[in-house]
Symmetry: C2
Subunit: 317 residues, 2 copies
Amino acid sequence: MAVTIRDVARQAQVSVSTVSRALSAPGLVKEATRRRVLDVVQGLGYQPNRAARSLITGRTGNLGIVVPDLENPFFPAVLRGVQTRAGEAGTSVFFCDSREDPLTEAELVRTMAPQVDGVVLCASLMSDEQIAELAGVTPLVLINRIVPGVSSVLMDSASGMDQVVTHLESLGHQHYVYLGGPAAVWSNNRRTQGLAGRAQLLGSFEPNFAGGVTAAEQALRTGATAFIAYNDLMALGALSHLAAVGVGVPQQVSVTGFDDILYAAMCSPALTTVTMPTEEGGKVAVDLLAALLDGGPAEHRELPTTLVARASTGEAG
Amino acid sequence: MAVTIRDVARQAQVSVSTVSRALSAPGLVKEATRRRVLDVVQGLGYQPNRAARSLITGRTGNLGIVVPDLENPFFPAVLRGVQTRAGEAGTSVFFCDSREDPLTEAELVRTMAPQVDGVVLCASLMSDEQIAELAGVTPLVLINRIVPGVSSVLMDSASGMDQVVTHLESLGHQHYVYLGGPAAVWSNNRRTQGLAGRAQLLGSFEPNFAGGVTAAEQALRTGATAFIAYNDLMALGALSHLAAVGVGVPQQVSVTGFDDILYAAMCSPALTTVTMPTEEGGKVAVDLLAALLDGGPAEHRELPTTLVARASTGEAG
DNA sequence: GTGAAAGCGCTAACAC
DNA sequence: GTGTTAGCGCTTTCAC
């Protein structure tokens, strides 16, 4: 087996507790002793056994994150933030993809719980009650979801949606249609609120490319001059359908997305959309989790979103 | 604290060792006893403490995976496969994104090593020597990379590239240019081999959208009628540049990608590309890792790839 | 087939 | 400031 704390203690001529303290409570040992211990640690390449440490402290040094769909680039972006911040703290990250299924989500959180100190739950599809219950099983932080009594970080999509509509208004549009995501999705309701009744609602479609195609098909029949999609994936689907049926974007119809995923800038016409503070959101979530683990109360943070006007929107025809 | 093995033992009227055996070596206890124990386990909701178990067995029940870029949809697709197969075995997955940096990659593997039973390394950018050395630190399985003595699963991109060229030939093209990925990338060399000298080489570009834009700019000067990109992200960049400068695809220039990421089918014109067995690759990697942990030798598997002809290729102009 | 007991490597009282 | 010691929850000899 590898080198243990006892090996270090022997070679540094101190007791095991001193080694332990030198490593995890540096203030409690004399500077000179600490130095000597650390030298030996370095020399031997000693790495504390995490299992042994966990067994006593009850902490694992791990954290979990559950996302609905890894293939929606929005979530990898959030993951980056989580990984970055967690890495700084020496924490490892378990990830899971729930495939947009609330039951799977709950199961994954429960499975992870014993081997992590807490879980970050991204755009959860569960009910408030289910989430509240899980928050009792393990420390929990939500991203883009609010449940009373549970820590959360919200990217302000209501404001983002407001910016979208204002942008379209400034271009002279008067008749918009909202290509809605699944009715049961919390973010969808939030975005609908941001519309404040200023758009005709169409819904509920799958929040992906195929859903966007279907939605655009229906939206064309409304005679609206602007399509506001629930997210970028749907907007891309809409763009594809409009191209297929020969409707000019933005000459005949303007299209907007939401999230500003990598591909929003890559498609043609480039998509007007709302930038989400994804990486920042991931980092803040980790911070909130840390605060929770330190015994703090549940907290809520809100992060701003920004409209990015690109080529898919233009003057009303 | 939670319910321990002792609680189960007491209530089932057996010793802790019997409980332990009933759970991890069912063959060693009488059927009746085993039943009784399992009933109590169920009733109490007992879950063995993984830290305690690890401390003795030396196994963590975890596995790690390192990918170069989570935002390239190719990798989330592989992750899905890994997660699926690992989940079936009750194994949790740590993920890490190396941001296309070989040093980070090595560091991540070393960091993970103590808390996982093995690591899956995706499209590694490290040298053969570095990889071989890491394989000594922890059980290792490579995806899309071959290093002697190290287990690996390869998606056969040489054959894929061959299919691409054959397809272009059948459309009457005679002058192709290859928009190459980074020269140091193993997969890039592999794909170049698949070209077998039948295309003019241009390189080395960043394997992303921006790289594709730059590459297309240069490729236009060659007068070639078909652009073969290292991967889909580059192909999308090329498509974007061609649209920007008013070059018709596929009327004037045909474009092909590689990987068949989600967006390959979504862009317009839809991209002709090569489908990679991503999810399957992830699953096989987990299997190889399991075999390794069971004391088996390093193994190598090869998975087939298939050309998907879409709208971005057509008859030579 | 089952039980008793010895640790796995570490931290946290508790003494000094 | 530092050392001694008692476990954390589990698996695994070794007896019976």
